[in-house]
């Protein structure tokens, strides 16, 4: 047998590996454009979050129908990848169904399971295409999904469908060849799902069957390699990043806003409180709040790259529900788009962050961030614990403290608080007046 296919296979594997590693470096660098942030406390709870939420899909099940369909694709992805291991080894070694002799009857069972999952993935992908394009589920028709994001979602679903067809066609032709006594093909016990495809190819010549079998084999494995590179350009990155993303979840109470120690030092000086340990003081005072991605922390940017644009956040956002421009999903997409823009610019020796653009202003408007009620519905809704609120609040800090650009009514509220220690304009000396009446009342 010619060694050419093996060489070609190793070459393709190498090229895919090369591109993939380039892309991983690009993504890693982009994520690390965000500020340093250490979030390694409570490792037990972090592993638990990752196991339950990423591996266990816990939060997906807040919506049963998509959760079930997604679970089929997810399990299919995990399990069918076991078969990819055989594909890769067969490709390198020039063997065919390498594992079959070792596993005996178990092998047929395994292939039947893979076929079942392939069909399940296929059905789910079709259902998802219908939800997006025919039923037009509301969260998939929002403004921020127009164009590439909607296309991206459809491309992924179509690729998955074709890959699953390839695997079923391959098994069908493979088994016809085996049944005709071709010794290079191994007769397995009946394969339930692909046997339905066999009648399509029964009349084919041996040559045609071999061609189809080989073509689908190559198509499947090369398709998977291409897909793995495509994923790095796509919202589909969540299949990998959901894991680190949930590990780095915010484990604090959702209502807690992160303290700004830089401000604490200054306020303590103003209030005449001695600063406890000067070593805690940061070396340089950067920008207050966030204007661009490098003002956010790297976990914020990781969040953006992990987002698969499902829109559960946006569909539960009270501002979005009532027609305001704010969409938490768009916030995440904007962070990612800006990180991509800066990363690409740096790679071609461009201006990078100094390109005169910024996340706030060129991507996200004040109108959007001002509409947020900080209700945490988006954070709660996210199946992988992405935190759009953290980003919104950091941008509000920038607007308030660097630009003094908050809405006039908020400025008035600030003024009231400064002068009378209440957001409303009341005299501080009247604060206790509510008790006058009750203190006169007879206790019943």
């Amino acid at each position: 047998m010619s060694i050419l296919p093996q060489l070609a296979f190793v070459l393709i594997l190498g090229v895919a590996g090369f591109f993939l590693s380039k892309r991983i470096q690009f993504l890693r660098r982009n994520i690390l454009l965000g500020k340093a942030e250490t979030r390694n406390d409570q490792p037990k709870n972090r592993w638990k979050a990752m196991l339950l939420i990423a591996l266990g899909q816990q939060k997906m099940f807040k919506r049963l129908v998509p959760a079930f369909l997604h679970l089929l694709i997810y399990v299919g992805f995990l399990v069918i990848n076991l078969e990819v291991l055989e594909f890769v080894l067969d490709g390198i070694l020039g063997t065919h169904r390498l594992f079959a002799p070792f596993l005996g009857g178990v092998y047929t069972v395994a292939i039947n399971v893979f076929e079942f999952l392939a069909v399940a993935v296929l059905v789910s992908c079709v259902a998802f295409l219908v939800r997006r394009n025919v039923m037009r589920v509301e969260r998939f028709t929002k403004l921020e999904l127009k164009g590439w994001p909607a296309m991206d979602a459809n491309v992924i679903l179509v690729i998955e469908i074709i890959l699953m067809f390839a695997i079923l066609t391959m098994n069908a032709t493979d088994q016809i060849l085996a049944s005709r006594g071709d010794t290079r093909y191994l007769a397995l016990d009946p394969l339930f799902f692909s046997s339905f495809f066999q009648p399509l190819f029964e009349g084919f010549s041996r040559g045609a069957l071999v061609a189809i079998e080989r073509f689908t084999w190559w198509f499947h494995i090369v398709g998977i390699l291409v897909f793995s590179v495509y994923v790095t350009y796509s919202k589909h990155l969540h299949i990998f990043l959901a894991f680190p993303n949930t590990w780095y979840s915010n484990l604090k109470p959702k209502g807690e806003m992160e303290n700004m120690p830089v401000v604490t030092n200054e306020v303590n000086i103003m209030l005449g409180i001695p600063i406890e340990s000067p070593s805690n003081a940061p070396v340089e005072i950067g920008r207050f709040g966030a204007k661009d991605i490098n003002d956010l922390n790297w976990i914020n940017v990781l969040n953006a790259y992990s987002c698969t644009e499902c829109g559960r956040c946006t569909s539960e956002c009270p501002a979005n529900l009532t027609g305001k421009k704010l969409s938490p999903r768009k916030i995440m997409m904007d962070v990612r788009d800006r990180a991509e823009e800066v990363g690409k610019s740096i790679d071609v020796g461009g201006l990078g962050l100094a390109d005169g653009k910024s996340l706030l202003g060129d991507y996200i408007t004040k109108e959007e961030i001002n509409a947020c009620t900080s209700c945490n519905a988006c954070v709660e809704a996210c199946p992988i614990n992405i935190d759009p609120l953290s980003i919104i609040l950091q941008m509000r800090r920038y607007v308030a403290m660097e630009e003094s650009g908050t809405p006039a009514q908020w400025n008035a509220m600030f003024q009231n608080m400064e002068t009378s220690f209440s957001p409303w304009k009341f005299s501080p000396s009247d604060r206790f007046n509510w008790a006058d009446q009750v203190k006169e009342e007879e206790m019943k």
Partner: protein, 263 residues
């Protein structure tokens, strides 16, 4: 017969006394015409039960929540710093408040600034009093058998995962608690959080409190129970907007308990 008392921390300290719990009234509780009734109701309950409490009175300042959420960290920390100085000065250990925003800020955000207290929301406090038998409900009060829905406040619910305490308090009134379509972790905001209380909403098709009020009215409830001054305002406005104020009342939990106790 004696009158209700509202001791301040300053008065207590002058007598070398330390109350068990500081009742943090909050700005709405101090100044908002409608919400003052809630403060008074809660103080009456505390009196009736004999809880050792005090308030800061004129020494209290805004917790700083709206300033922080609107982005003004300096102003927030000025308020928080001053409050912490006062509270630490009085050696405050435990705080109870009827405002989820103050509750969240003092509980979760003051520790980083040197203010460490046990902080409970009044719904949790009331639940405990009921469980301990200290608040004895008559059960035949004006709410008996009525349909009541509870609106989850974001800063109580999602922010701090207090979902059951307010519901337990309502159930103790022998009422029929009905849930809105969006409740607990999925509860819809009233529209006032994140400093929205202090400005007009951005342009949209609808105000958030109207959306939420429609949901509350759809349950057929005769009263909407809340545990937050901002929610109380927003829901009351929503009910008015729908011309339902004669049929559907909006109450704070403490008011309902006080009413049932006949105080």
């Amino acid at each position: 017969m004696s009158t209700y008392t509202v001791p301040t921390m300053a008065e207590m300290a002058a007598n070398a006394q330390l109350p068990e719990v500081l009742f943090w009234v909050g700005c709405a509780g101090s100044f908002d015409e409608r919400y003052k009734a809630v403060t008074q109701a809660f103080v009456k309950i505390l009196n009736k039960v004999g809880v050792s409490f005090a308030v800061l009175g004129p020494e209290e300042a805004c917790s700083g929540d709206p300033a922080r959420r609107a982005g003004n960290e300096f102003l927030f920390q000025m308020q928080a710093g001053a409050n912490i100085q006062v509270m630490n000065g009085y050696k405050v250990k435990k705080v109870v408040t009827a405002c989820p925003h103050c509750f969240n800020t003092i509980k979760n955000e003051y520790p980083a600034l040197g203010g460490n207290y046990e902080v409970v929301h009044h719904s949790e406090f009331l639940q405990q009093l009921i469980n301990e038998g200290k608040v004895r409900l008559q059960g035949g009060g004006e709410f008996k058998g009525k349909k009541i829905t509870f609106h989850d406040s974001c800063y109580l619910g999602r922010a701090n995962e207090v979902y059951e305490a307010p519901r337990e308090v309502i159930k103790a009134l022998d009422v029929e608690l009905v849930e809105m379509k969006r409740c607990r972790t999925k509860g819809l905001c009233c529209g006032a959080g994140g400093a929205q209380m202090f400005k007009e909403p951005e342009a949209g098709q609808k105000d958030i409190n109207i959306e939420r009020t429609e949901e509350a009215l759809a349950t057929g409830a005769q009263a909407i129970a809340v545990g937050c001054p901002f929610c109380l305002t927003m829901m009351t406005d929503g009910v008015k907007n729908k011309n339902k104020e004669a049929e559907v009342k909006v109450y704070d939990l403490a008011e309902m308990i006080a009413k049932d106790m006949g105080i």
